[in-house]
Subunit: 365 residues, 4 copies
Amino acid sequence: MKNSFGTSVIVTLFGESHGPAVGGVLDGLAPGIPVDPDFIARQLQLRRPYGKISTPRVEADKFEILSGVFEGRTTGTPLCIVIPNENTASKSYAKLRTLARPGHADYTAHAKYHGFADYRGGGHFSGRITAALTALGAVAIAALRDKGIVIGTHIARCAGVPDRDFCDLDADLAALSERVFPVLDEAAGQAMQAAIAAAGADGDSVGGVLESCVTGLPAGVGEPWFDSLEGVLSHGLFSIPGVKGVQFGAGFDLADARGSEFNDEFYMDGGAVRTRTNHNGGVNGGICNGMPLRFSCMVKPTPSIFKPQNTVDFEQNEDAVLRLEGRHDPAILHRARVVVDSVAALVLADQLALRFGTDWLRKQP
Amino acid sequence: MKNSFGTSVIVTLFGESHGPAVGGVLDGLAPGIPVDPDFIARQLQLRRPYGKISTPRVEADKFEILSGVFEGRTTGTPLCIVIPNENTASKSYAKLRTLARPGHADYTAHAKYHGFADYRGGGHFSGRITAALTALGAVAIAALRDKGIVIGTHIARCAGVPDRDFCDLDADLAALSERVFPVLDEAAGQAMQAAIAAAGADGDSVGGVLESCVTGLPAGVGEPWFDSLEGVLSHGLFSIPGVKGVQFGAGFDLADARGSEFNDEFYMDGGAVRTRTNHNGGVNGGICNGMPLRFSCMVKPTPSIFKPQNTVDFEQNEDAVLRLEGRHDPAILHRARVVVDSVAALVLADQLALRFGTDWLRKQP
Amino acid sequence: MKNSFGTSVIVTLFGESHGPAVGGVLDGLAPGIPVDPDFIARQLQLRRPYGKISTPRVEADKFEILSGVFEGRTTGTPLCIVIPNENTASKSYAKLRTLARPGHADYTAHAKYHGFADYRGGGHFSGRITAALTALGAVAIAALRDKGIVIGTHIARCAGVPDRDFCDLDADLAALSERVFPVLDEAAGQAMQAAIAAAGADGDSVGGVLESCVTGLPAGVGEPWFDSLEGVLSHGLFSIPGVKGVQFGAGFDLADARGSEFNDEFYMDGGAVRTRTNHNGGVNGGICNGMPLRFSCMVKPTPSIFKPQNTVDFEQNEDAVLRLEGRHDPAILHRARVVVDSVAALVLADQLALRFGTDWLRKQP
Amino acid sequence: MKNSFGTSVIVTLFGESHGPAVGGVLDGLAPGIPVDPDFIARQLQLRRPYGKISTPRVEADKFEILSGVFEGRTTGTPLCIVIPNENTASKSYAKLRTLARPGHADYTAHAKYHGFADYRGGGHFSGRITAALTALGAVAIAALRDKGIVIGTHIARCAGVPDRDFCDLDADLAALSERVFPVLDEAAGQAMQAAIAAAGADGDSVGGVLESCVTGLPAGVGEPWFDSLEGVLSHGLFSIPGVKGVQFGAGFDLADARGSEFNDEFYMDGGAVRTRTNHNGGVNGGICNGMPLRFSCMVKPTPSIFKPQNTVDFEQNEDAVLRLEGRHDPAILHRARVVVDSVAALVLADQLALRFGTDWLRKQP
């Protein structure tokens, strides 16, 4: 489906960084879900550059809902949100048009689209498209929250600086939702920001790991084999620019463990089945076991750096040296968190609609 | 699509561990591809238990091609392979029917299917279904090989023992295709097998990391956003039982790196664009850059262990202690490798058919 | 999806007329649905040749359920049914291999599959594949019936002989379910059979129109635009060999009417909204309005006739004359009816599962 | 996929009649296809009301391309076109909000969306959405034409008045592309327009049959079973509001024929395989045989009429009488023709991209 994803709740993306607009269409969401423009604006704000550690390209991210909302609620028909592009600075890109920026899609876009792609600012490969994903995701996040399903993401690791682990999950998720720089331990957050600023001062960049939790997902959601929760979530998460690894529960961290350590023992907690540990990330056999869903995304260091880099001119087929100018973030982890939350919400809304029907997500009065 | 995957080349799985058979259907493969039953049998043999480190349940894995092959070649119509189940020992499972094996899908299957699932031997969640995936994957692996696209996987890490990295890729892939226990450094393989045996002796199990490489994939294959190569491959790979993490290139291993370390600089190598490092795993912006595709799967320790484990009886809703009997592997990494190769081949065959048309995969005379 | 169809409830077909077997996989059906082998056998019996008006190739249509049924009920995992081929007479086809039978897929299969398709008996294009569709459809038909949704089809017209219209729908549908030659007016049925026999005696064949009704479908099922009930049903129905037209309600029959005649006026019938006429076939804007779903399929005359026909040899690229031998039905309308019912049931089961969730189709105790 | 359609070339629709805009996204089209805004405008003009026989709501149908076009050519990434709504007259609808207009989707939308749908002007069910389909279809029509594939549609029958049949197909298709009221015999067109005007004078409406031909489609395009050309085309065509029947070739018109009349005999025409008749509409076994693709759509009489109609108030659950005011076409056949062409082009572009790869549709220099 290329730029669309989902089976019952389907998101479609469009737009280029320096074209008229980016946007997306969300189809299949239940009718009657409240749509709060302020919440969408707030989520877009979280995706914006932040303080000294981000690019000075600050866009208003004004969005327009073109369809699918009537009298403040979803209609059940496709919801289209468009975010016009403003403040674009195309010239600094034009002169580097045929130099492949390492870690970027310039060369692969050239190979795939034969030179017809809009190269300005990364075109359709720009992280700017995630603004559309964020706006649509906001509607899904709010709808899930009204059904008791809460999603949150923190920077588990950045530039070698670890955050603390989740402990009191409800409190941690509530705290994260208030934080522009999403860490559980604010001292760790200060250290991360210092490391980001240091990298930026060197004309360099950093990456790290985002860890997410989802509470309130009913046991039994998911599918065996190809549409395992791991399969559909990772499919969505790898669409986020810079994500190069996805793990559920402990993942690679416990690659050396034995089964007796890794297995999550079950116990009865009142009438509820729970596990004492959550190394499987709340998923057994592709299906939610009622424990919090837990997954991590490795986000590579931002590929745009100011250090000179060896590369090729893919039209001249010759070696070249790239010296980037313009505006670039030394880290995008903090901005990517809201995109991770959005993708997770859209994927889970789809799974829930498949499992319980298209009306399920509607808040009951 | 649940138990089906793919857009132009589509695989569908069916079967239960202790039912009459497991099997699968492969639709959309080009006509005229040679189908070698011996190669399918050999791939199935690689998936079988091996020596002292695997379960004594040894099945002949006799398979029957029900459709889609005529006079030794694919017809272009759906190819169905069925593998009858034999040598099943259902009784040892029946008495534990309502005890949730930690790390297994017993409880989640109960939550999803309301007690109607075939519980014997894990039913539809059994690793036995991967025999069907392996048989169908063999056809795709051979077809890709005829087009110069070679897939290989080694155990990069098992029970804390690392294998060496890929170096001479063509030679390494050739060597791996001959090895039942797929490592690059045979001494490391001996140490891994000793560690597996030791865990087995303790009634315990181990996991690890499988690393894969694909050579010969043309630059420009893949899609931006949702159908990135990372997205579609991870979707497929997470369907393999036990896989809890997928990364491309360096992934989590370089989470602490800076952009100047992580970025893969381009250079001209004769007329070809190449990169000096391959931390991005051959994928930029979701699209193949012509370098080898490189990804890793974290495989958790086999959840079936012989140590007593605390769990619940999900019909009685009470705590219980599980003492597994029967036959179980202390490790499945070496057996899972051929499943990883198969999934990768099926996913890439799909992407290539989408990109170049349904006839492309046919070997030209 | 080629040989698969559906979004939440998905059917996949495989097999060739003279290969080892035909079969299919049904994925996504709710768990706990009773599966009655006798009803499947009975439906297959309805698809078999009948009396003097059908081919003497009479197969036992023994089927085997390979997966997805446990202790007499669906498990919720993929249900695979295989029907071995027996009594095949391949020789009579081999000598005509490169002569394109008019109205058949011989030439188009050659154009698409470059000569690799199994040509024997029409290969994958054989009406024999509908046995698999019928077996899987039987499970869906029974499940829908348990939820109060009843499907029935009659021969509305054959060889110029019209059946009477539906009148007392419940009684008519009950009567049809008992009839091997499905007409409402048995005298019309006698006239049709005489016309079929007369065509057969001339070495010729006839076609006609099948009209179907579905009662009990809840208002609100369906989608606007592309997944209108008309869209998804016609997509499925046109897969039935020989169907060359599909209409909903009056369709082409009222092409000359005015809006005041065609529109179905609403009225309250007790608490229920109903329409006085049903020219729209129970569908407004792609969505069920609670009235019976009504649609018709035009089935072309069986293309296999014994009269000499001009054609081409598509390997020699020269004109030729075809003289068919072997066994061929002068009409397939009566046999196709159970296939129409099956396709309708599978498509509606999918729509209902999408609308109300995957558990909905399960009969509640 | 609800409001999306296609596998490799995918169209997604959004919008409501009286919301800010209608629009659509076209994904998967080859890069480098020229996009001519004047041709899009011309196609939109053909969809507009025409002369005395159409509604006085005349909108400028100004469209904006938001993405996917760069320097006058497709980029290969999603192409989004938005058409703002203007000149909306919502008030005349508001007072009839809960009266189900016979033949319209008011009641079914209420049943499906629980009262949350935008009811104004039919909301998402409005024929206005076909403006988006027309704009996107224009790009596909032009791309196909550059590859020698030409699509044309005439009003084969309106209000009982027949047009002549296609004879010199290339000349007929060329003539149709120039005509606002698309008939082959202009005298028949005059008679049809008189009949439409007479119905309008009576406060009534008429429908009819649109017949389409596509030349230049290569033999071998299409799939057996579910993705037969008939299946995918009908799926798309039934999404057009008012279409209640679709047939290929002769369809229902030859329901009474014998096989010897219906079968299309093959012959060699130079090096090309052709058929003498085309009762199968160019499709055998779901796959194009190289003859012109031929299909017809029955379009019901416009449901909006000015005669008083009995209906129900679906909120009060009581009988009511509807007296429509406002602006309504007594016929939409002539306007629907460009929508039929658009849907056919989009569906065929998808099939061609699947068959020959995503680059095929690009005009070679």
